[in-house]
């Protein structure tokens, strides 16, 4: 495969409020390739959104990227470590939007109500490209057309509150693409939408990805959306990637007990009517009360006393592409050869 466009290794983003420390992302690693989609999946508090915000270096205080590296290969061939760069530097501002576009869940609160959607798209274009106002406006209309907004030459002058949820999310995608980034990060892009609109937006992302060979990071809690879209998958639980691999292996040969349990517990349109779901015992622990060792051990049906509640398990490579963080597949560190 080609060289990764972005290579994240052992990313650590911690929040240090007065009460202690929350390890929101605690050792996440993955690579992004052109034309491919990485799905990051997990439940609330797993750190999937903080991972996205860490890449863009827009983590809110008191959060901070504290460790690891994120090597971005820029368009001109230079390699920049996003974990080390000053988050308010000119270069980071250039990367944000210019190299990496992003779409968030709530299009209503991400768009300004004071400017027309055209103004906002034009601003994004002119921030990264030296074009005249007229050229920028024409490009904005083209972009709105590309993302499937009907009558773009009129809609360019409308405000976000005049649009439906699906159209607003299309505007968000147009904004994300305005400066022709090579990476697109989409954080729950369809969660607030109806299934029919979701299908439209997912198809749109796929189409644009094909045309532009974008590397896409798709962050969601929805295993269905992952199955539909991703080439490779990272499953996160309480700040750690517990398993990563090709989408087919994650769904058909999951190794981590959490991945297995998650897949068993999702309702499916293919299930028998009124069939009981397999459940995962307990609930996600509070961020201040993370269990020691493997953080999933209190809910795990393969829990091994004395092993899983001791040291945190390391990431074990099962083959070149499939990794898992679980003692079922690797010895406890220091337990002999």
């Amino acid at each position: 495969m080609a060289e990764p466009m972005l290579s994240v290794r052992d990313l650590k983003t911690y929040f240090r409020p007065d009460e202690g420390v929350v390890r929101a992302v605690d050792g996440a690693s993955f690579d992004l390739y052109p034309g491919r989609t990485l799905g990051i999946v997990g439940e609330s508090g797993c750190g999937k959104s903080v991972t996205a915000r860490s890449i863009l270096r827009i983590v809110d205080r008191p959060g901070k990227v504290e460790g690891g590296n994120m090597l971005l290969r820029r368009g001109d061939g230079r390699v920049v470590d996003l974990a080390k760069i000053d988050d308010s530097s000119a270069e980071m501002r250039d990367i944000r939007g210019g190299e990496i576009g992003y779409v968030f869940q709530e299009p209503m609160s991400s768009l300004s109500a004071f400017y027309t959607i055209g103004n906002q798209v034009i601003e994004a274009i002119r921030l990264h490209h030296k074009v005249t106002a007229k050229e920028a406006r024409d490009r904005a209309i083209e972009l709105l057309q590309l993302v499937g907004i009907p009558r773009p030459e009129q809609r360019v002058d409308s405000y976000s509150f005049e649009l439906s949820g699906g159209l607003r999310q299309r505007v968000m995608i147009a904004l994300a693409l305005a400066a022709e980034p090579r990476i697109l990060i989409a954080d729950e892009p369809t969660t607030a939408l109806d299934v029919t609109t979701q299908a439209q937006i997912l198809e749109l992302i796929r189409k644009i990805q094909d045309e532009r060979q974008l590397a896409v990071v798709l962050i969601t809690h929805d295993m269905g959306v992952i199955a539909e879209m991703a080439d490779s998958v990272s499953v996160m639980y309480l700040g750690k990637v517990v398993e990563s691999g090709p989408v087919d292996e994650i769904f058909h040969a999951p190794k981590h007990p959490y991945t297995q349990a998650l897949l068993r517990s999702i309702p499916s349109v293919l299930a028998e009517p009124r069939s009981r779901l397999a459940t995962i015992a307990g609930s996600i622990p509070h961020p201040y009360a993370r269990p020691p060792g493997c953080t999933f051990h209190p809910r795990c049906r393969d829990f091994m006393a004395g092993t899983c509640d001791g040291e945190a398990p390391p990431l074990t490579a099962l083959d070149a592409v499939h990794e898992v963080r679980c003692y079922l597949y690797g010895r406890r560190a220091g337990a002999g050869t």
């Binding site: 609330s44 539909e228 499916s268 009124r274 779901l277 459940t279």
Partner: protein, 340 residues
């Protein structure tokens, strides 16, 4: 029409919201949020109302609970004294004794519990308000209810902030069950929960139904969840039921093009089943300007001339369902099935 197993019978329900303009507040039109909806729910049965946002499913459920007054139609509810009462036209005082028999489970377990009340007070409040038992009896009933929703008794004197989303939803369910209702209206009860917790609550709802003989009106947009809870499903589009059928039949052999498109849009959690989706163009019609004829015709890939002119009526079809589509007899639509 109504046999003794029917708990709720809705007939010709309409809810129009007037649109007024100008200084004189002149009536210029109506938002037809619910337009001629009829269905029944039997004892121990779950009927799900599904559809996109704005289809009228929540308005329908709010009319049934009489949170709002319907514009027209009958809502016959069988009381525990085996009487049939039309709640559509009742006044507030007339409704009071009936309210305890139909209860609601809310979507958001974070905003639906009073943060200043203990769990015991929250669950016991409906008992207190309705003057059921003395303090000791009420505490005993709260303990029973906690047990029923599988929460430890030790939680009684804690406050909601100490609980996770799933536990809060259990508390909400316990409160809804306090007065032994016959009908529970659940509006998106699991959509705010994490996947692993959602499964627990779905199982709990199924179990409680079997133990207590509850009837559920389940309002949801997630068809996967609906498949797991429903006996029958009604699909709504712009204020009308376009198809209603037993769960398996609806998913396997949908009869309405809109049902087919909805099913096709659901992502299936299996990368080997990535299918060509039917992507519906455009969006749900505006209920203040419903297209003439079948409201779905501008988005329907099977629409013919007749669909633009004439509103199709719900007609019974083979397999126990009914469908409102002029072409239902001739179309062979694709559903979803495990072996498919």
């Amino acid at each position: 029409m109504t046999d003794e197993r029917t708990v709720l019978s809705v007939e010709g329900l309409k809810k129009y919201f007037p649109i007024r303009r100008g200084i004189l507040r002149r009536l210029v039109g109506n938002v037809k949020a619910v337009d001629d909806v009829s269905f029944k729910i039997a004892h121990g049965e779950t009927l799900s109302l599904v559809g996109e946002s704005g289809c009228g499913k929540t308005t329908t459920s709010r009319c049934i609970l009489r949170a709002i007054r319907p514009t027209a139609g009958a809502i016959r509810f069988r009381t525990d004294q085996q009487r049939n009462v039309d709640v559509a036209g009742l006044s507030r005082t007339e409704l009071r004794p009936l309210r305890r028999q139909m209860q609601m489970i809310f979507q958001d377990p974070f905003s639906s519990l009073n943060p200043r009340m203990t769990i015991s007070d929250i669950i016991g409040e409906p008992l207190l308000v309705n003057g059921v038992g003395d303090l000791a009896e009420r505490r005993k009933r709260v303990a029973e209810l906690l047990d029923l929703v599988q929460l430890p008794l030790a939680y009684m004197n804690r406050y909601p902030h100490a609980f996770s989303g799933g536990q809060r939803q259990r508390i909400g369910i316990a409160r809804a069950l306090a007065l032994n209702p016959a009908l529970i209206v659940a509006d998106e009860p699991v959509s705010a929960l994490d996947v692993s917790v959602q499964a627990q609550i779905i199982n709990l709802l199924l179990e409680l139904q079997e133990r207590l003989g509850l009837s559920y009106l389940f309002v949801a947009h997630d068809l996967s969840v609906v498949k797991h809870v429903s006996h029958r499903v009604a699909v709504m589009y712009v204020g009308r039921i376009v198809e209603m059928a037993p769960t398996e039949a609806l998913f396997r052999t949908p009869r309405h093009p809109y049902t087919e498109a909805l099913l096709s849009a659901v992502p299936v959690p299996d990368p080997r089943k990535r299918a060509k989706r039917i992507v519906l163009a455009g969006q749900v019609a505006d209920p203040s300007r419903v297209p003439p004829g079948c409201a779905f015709h501008p988005r329907c890939r099977y629409a013919v001339e007749r669909c633009r002119a004439e509103i199709p009526q719900l007609q019974p079809v083979e397999g126990g369902g009914s469908v409102a589509c002029h072409r239902a007899g001739e179309l062979a639509l694709a559903g979803v099935a495990a072996d498919g």
